[in-house]
Amino acid sequence: MNLGYILLIPLIPLVVFLLLGIFNQRIKPAISGYIGVFGLLVSTILSCYAAYQYFFVHGKVNGVYQTFVEKTVWMNFSDTLHIDMGIFIDPISVMMLVVVSTVSLMVHIYSRGYMKGDDGYTKFFAFLSLFSFSMYGLVLATNLFQIYIFWELVGVSSYLLIGYYYTKESAVAAAKKAFIVTRFADLGFLIGILIMGYYTGTYDFETLNDPEGNAILNWASTSFMGLSVLTWGLILIFIGGAGKSAMFPLHIWLPDAMEGPTPVSALIHAATMVVAGVFLVARLFPMYYFIEDGFALNIVAFVGAFSALFAAIIAITQTDIKRVLAFSTMSQLGYMMLALGVSGYDGHEGLGYMASMFHLFTHAMFKALLFLGAGSVIHAVHSNYLKDMGGLRKYMPITNITFLIAALAISGVPPFAGFFSKDEILVAVYEHNKLLYFVGVFVAGLTAFYMFRIYFGIFWGKETKYEHKPHESPISMTFPLLFLALMSILGGFIPFSDFVTADKAGFEAHLNYPLAAVAVVVGLIGIVLAWVFYKKESDLADRLANFFGPLYQWTSDKFYFDAIYLFITKKILFKRVAAPIAWFDRNIVDGTMNLIGNSTVKTSEKIKGMQSGKVQDYAFAFMAGVVILAIVFVYLWAE
């Protein structure tokens, strides 16, 4: 398979970024928008071509999808360890290329309308291109260090875009928080990489993931505190993944990240960057599965399930629609992690892996659609809050329909995309662990409930008095909505199990009718409840909130995790660590140095008195010296 043109996929956005970044002031906004869109369009076409070539023409040899790697040394650490840069083509990376391209292109087109008239229009497109470049680099990475490099780069793109409205204090704080929390997680990732490199002698995914390879066969050779060092490495790497994918308890940055412009939330904080953690686990899946009988993988499953539940509960009480969507994203990412965590490796055993990737794909489409739809609404009413919305279906028909499609998709209603992928996940979990299955089904119900809560709240319900009459968004914004809606309808019919599986050989997946029926019924119950609560004007919701009182308050305050983090950083790290260290440095360390200096000066002040300048004093001292010396000499000679 010819890989040359694949290299262009990340390079085009990079060139666009440099062009827009360097000639920022000199490019007319209208033109920069076209440059950005055009660049991504070319990348998207190439990605789709690559996917076609890989999945249908060259990829499969003897029924198994092959891995194609092209790489070059970027830096040498020692004779054996080095960082390579290159492209890695296998089913999940090709799938990710398509996901990133599609969503990114739609967001580029959408932004031309959404960001119109903004001061930093060119800068915005430059950052979007930087992000697209980094994300492509991440999915195409050939080794742990390359993925880490692009991992950091998507992180910084996210920082720049969250802080895009940089004169707003809350945006600055959110950007900082996102960067530092993920950086903290990346510390785990980095140490994990160091462990992998030291104990296996390579960073290469191909070598590491080889089920017959050294790393996987000899995992037991070194252990630390009862676990294989490689298990520790995988757990640490998962911490990195959990940070990016907003898994509990590293999720706190994601809701705040909604300070960024809405297209950014759709692209980075819903569809692409936040799935990097899921992608990372999938990328190292053979290691997670085989080493120590999947010990680390179990952690992934439980963290995923808990995050899914935790976030879904919080999502119910949030009043800012973007935050509802943010928690929803976290919850769905938990689903993906859960599916990976319960997956096996061979054939049908690997259902969870396939389901996770399938859900990643469909989720990217309908969640991007939800965010862009929310953006369209926010654009119309100039507010993020549910209380400022209501009855918008009359004014915004396209947004209404597409948002409804996305809401149905995420709620798992057939025949929309989410139904298929969620069903596969639930089947996989059911086969592995019944308890986690019930968590999954419950979360499905909650998802449908909170999603239709905001759907009814925005488009139905009581009509708010609007200062300006809301109107449908321009075509540049509605076209992406329509396209993504189409994907949310058709996406579920893609036979994913033929293409993307853990062992790369593919298997026959069938709908499991009883389980599917359960999931659909639970989803419908959620929707009906939301209808009862929120469609009509009623105080039922308020009464229920009062009934649950403290519990409602806890949930609404996101279980006080932000407060806990603030306490740790402000009270402990700043007040109890940094401040004492700074004080210690100024007073003790530097004080000692000053003390030495001052005492030297003081001593000399004291001795100075001897140099009185009086001849008598000197004569006296001279005489005294002579006498003492004379005595000494006499004494010595007398010996």
């Binding site: 040498n76 360890l81 490099i149 960067f179 490199g197 030291y198």
Partner: protein, 495 residues
């Protein structure tokens, strides 16, 4: 004249020319031309070095040896390997950038530029010396002008700062002199004449007892200027009072003499002493890394923040050197280079901000991105480079250090390594704090709305420093391999 002695001759000629100049205009033009020639020569040296390396596999190339003081066998012995070539390049770039940043130095310009160039002679000489005594002399030549530069052209409590800096560095020099003499008097254990020549001494087996005695002295003697905890306190005060170009040169280049000296003298000549003592100094270095970073969080003066950040970053250099393996050493040298460019860039930017707003207190600044976008954007980039973002030089250096440090697999090394690695998070905190308060947010002061735009000479200075940071970060292979190849002979005493 050989290719290396020119590095001393050209600055000397520049100084001579400066003596005959009148006023700022002439002084700066002469200094710029001198530094430009110097930079051109360095770039030429890099190419010449690669060419020479193909045919010459000696440890040092372009060597030259002239007897200077016969009685004590003191020579003017010079030569370079990949490491010194890289550091010479750093010096030439930072000096030129410093000249551009001092473009408007109206206060005694001639004397200022002369002192600056004298300082650079010391640095160039230090990096090419192969004779301990000559090296020491150049070391002193580099340190003395600091006193004048801070004492005369500085701000704030400049005399106190200048005195403190000079005295602490002199104290270290005294220790260093003892160590050098100690090495000298033990350089003939195999029967030859006493010598100061580094390459000759390296061939001799200095007894373990002697190494054990003199390693700490040599290490501390050099490491004080490399901001070793707890001997780092001269640096924040010194930087805060120094004029911009001096801070740049000092943090960018002068502090690198420490790491280089430790590497070239302490590690190379006293390898067994290094092994014996490494655990102790590793603890100090690791404390410096994390301690500098935490101290930086609480500072409010931009220069103090950067000075403590230097303590942290240079702590990493010493930390890496003490790891005694090639990967970490490569990281140490790369970190020296990377920190040199980054910190010089930081001080240049801080100088520009100070010139415009007349304050360095971050709490009084705000929203600068809106009013001086170019300077602020570069500050963000420098900050990202400093926190080790891939694509910039810091990442390349730090990864070498961490991978190298991880090669030791006992508990002690694992703990100190993880402590040092965790500094990447603390670094992010103090960098983003400054970026958030100072550059972003609303414009705090109405007077800021009419700040002067960036000038061409400032832009030139910035670009000179930014290009190598990005260059090393994007394509590290050539420089990293150049250094790695030169490390081979140095590893001999270390198993």
């Amino acid at each position: 004249m050989d290719i290396l002695s020119l590095f001393i001759t050209v600055p000397v000629l520049t100084i001579l020319a400066l003596v005959f100049t009148k006023g700022l205009r002439q002084a700066r033009i002469v200094s710029m031309i001198g530094s430009l020639i110097q930079l051109a020569m360095t770039i030429n040296l890099v190419f010449a070095y690669f060419k020479e390396r193909d045919i010459n596999q000696d440890i040092m190339v372009f060597t030259k040896d002239v007897v200077w003081f016969e009685q004590f066998n003191i020579h003017y012995a010079i030569g370079v390997d990949g490491i010194s070539v890289a550091l010479l390049l750093l010096t030439a770039i930072v000096v030129l950038a410093g000249v551009f940043i001092s473009w408007k130095m109206s206060d005694l310009p001639k004397e200022f530029f002369i002192s600056l160039i004298v300082l650079s002679i010391g640095v160039y000489g230090f990096f090419i010396s192969l004779d301990l005594f000559t090296m020491f002399v150049f070391f002193e030549i580099a340190v003395i002008p600091m006193y004048l530069l801070i004492g005369i052209w500085g701000t704030g409590p400049r005399e106190y700062a200048a005195m403190k800096l000079t005295l602490m560095l002199m104290g270290a020099s005294a220790i260093l002199l003892v160590a050098i003499l100690g090495i000298y008097f033990n350089s003939n254990t195999d029967g030859g004449p006493l010598t100061f020549n580094i390459l000759e001494i390296a061939k001799v087996n200095i007894p373990f007892e002697v190494q054990k005695l003199f390693f700490p002295l040599t290490f501390i003697g050099f490491a004080v200027i490399g901001a070793l905890f707890p001997f780092h306190t001269w640096s924040p005060d010194g930087h805060a009072s120094a004029p911009t170009a001096v801070s740049m040169l000092h943090a960018g280049v002068l502090m690198k003499l420490g790491g280089y000296g430790v590497f070239r003298v302490a590690m190379y000549l006293l390898p067994e002493g290094a092994q014996y003592w490494s655990w102790f100094f590793i603890i100090l270095a690791a404390i410096g890394v994390i301690y500098g970073a935490f101290s930086a969080i609480k500072q409010t003066d931009l220069k103090y923040i950067n000075a403590y950040s230097s303590v942290s970053h240079l702590g990493l250099v010493l930390f890496a050197l003490l790891m005694l393996n090639k990967t970490a050493w490569n990281g140490a040298i790369l970190q020296s280079l990377s920190h040199g460019f980054m910190t010089a860039l930081f001080f240049a930017l801080i100088g520009m901000i100070y010139e415009r707003t007349h304050t360095r207190d971050v709490r009084k600044l705000g929203g600068l991105l809106k009013v001086i976008p170019f300077i602020s954007a570069i500050y963000v980039i420098a900050g990202l480079a400093s926190l080790g973002l891939p694509g910039f030089s810091g990442f390349v250096a730090e990864m070498n250090i961490f991978v190298g440090a991880f090669e030791h697999d006992d508990m002690f090394y694992r703990i100190v390594t993880i402590v040092s690695v965790s500094a990447i998070v603390v670094t992010a905190v103090y960098i983003l704090r400054v970026v958030g308060i100072m550059l972003m947010g609303p414009v705090k002061n109405k007077a800021f709305l009419s700040l002067e735009k960036v000038t061409w000479y400032e832009q030139l200075g910035i670009l000179l420093l930014l290009i190598p940071i990005v260059g090393m970060g994007v394509a590290p292979l050539w420089i990293s391999d150049m250094i790695l190849a030169s490390l081979h002979p140095f590893i001999h005493g270390v198993p």
